[in-house]
């Protein structure tokens, strides 16, 4: 199973800033192995972020998002103690959800 994400969520004034690191190979499908065989693409396709159950960001990614992806964004609202939840799904159908408490 994939490793947990590292999520940081901090509220300053009325805005919550979220920073996420995800553990993923993000294999492009362009590379070849030692035998000259193409290594199949394997990457995160969708990302969804919610705060108190409400979607605050959703994304679709291709293979050119860098390995071990980083993402940051801000949304209005959020209070210390609220939960931000992030889910990704990859080309193999693997999915991972992690949660952070807004600080």
């Amino acid at each position: 199973m994939a490793d947990p994400m590292k999520i940081r969520a901090n509220v300053v004034g009325d805005t919550t800033e979220v920073k996420v690191l995800m553990s993923h190979e993000m294999e492009t499908g362009q590379r070849k192995d030692a035998q000259g065989k193409t290594i199949p693409a394997w990457h995160i396709q969708t990302v969804n972020a919610t705060w108190n159950g409400k979607t605050v960001l959703s994304a679709q990614w291709g293979p050119a998002v860098a390995k071990n992806p980083f993402l940051s964004f801000k949304f209005k609202g959020g209070a210390k103690g609220d939960k931000v939840q992030i889910t990704w799904t990859d080309t193999r159908g693997d999915t991972r959800t992690d949660e952070a408490t807004i600080g």
Partner: protein, 272 residues
Amino acid sequence: MRSHHRRAAQGVAALFILAAATALGQGSPVDEIAKYRAALQDGNPAELWEARGEDMWKQARGPKKASLERCDLGLGPGVVKGAYSELPKYFADADRVQDLETRLVWCMVTQQGYTEADAKKNPFGAGNDKKADMEALVAYVTSESRGIRMNVPQSHPKEQEAYRIGEKIFYYRGGPHDFGCATCHGDDGKRIRLQDLPNLTKVDGARKAYTTWPAYRVSQGELRSFQWRLNDCFRQQRFPELEFASDASIALTMFLARNANGAEFDAPAIKR
């Protein structure tokens, strides 16, 4: 996510100036490379390794189903904060000078019941399929010394001996090219292609090099430990492989760590 990387990154960027300017043969890419490096400081993927290592530290593992939370890294059982800044050091229970990796192997054997061979297996991993547990543990433990000044001891005779041997290894020349560490790391302003070679014989160079490992290597998409760095330089030197957790490896680490004394530890970092 952390701003205190920035200072180190800018230092590295400064070194890069000349190389980049010559290589690109254009205006002043200095600021841009510095900008590039600064942008990467925010959200260093090394944190993924730190988190995995912390989990691993706390998990009951091995034949004895024990966690490493009683492992004594030199500051008492279970104390991780600041431990790395005082390693390598002499441990009476092992009657040996140990660096972080050797000490972790020791704890995995004595507390978790692993065989020594198992504990030492695959220390550097290779990609997602063969992730190294050791490098994750090292990432976690070292991260707990961030911001703490290096304070590697030289009080026990064995610590002094290790330093002396490490110094010998550092200046020893051999192999097909008659290279030693000092061949590449003994002068200011040396570089291979675009890479600056730090002068490890001077205080500044020695400090900066030691306190910025482990590092997330952008070019590899992996976290790499200081031990990996040494192994890779043995390869560059066309020396036989440096045996993981060997006395030679510990001695060389002692020499380099001790020479960084007084400098603030600032890793896991991120490097090109």
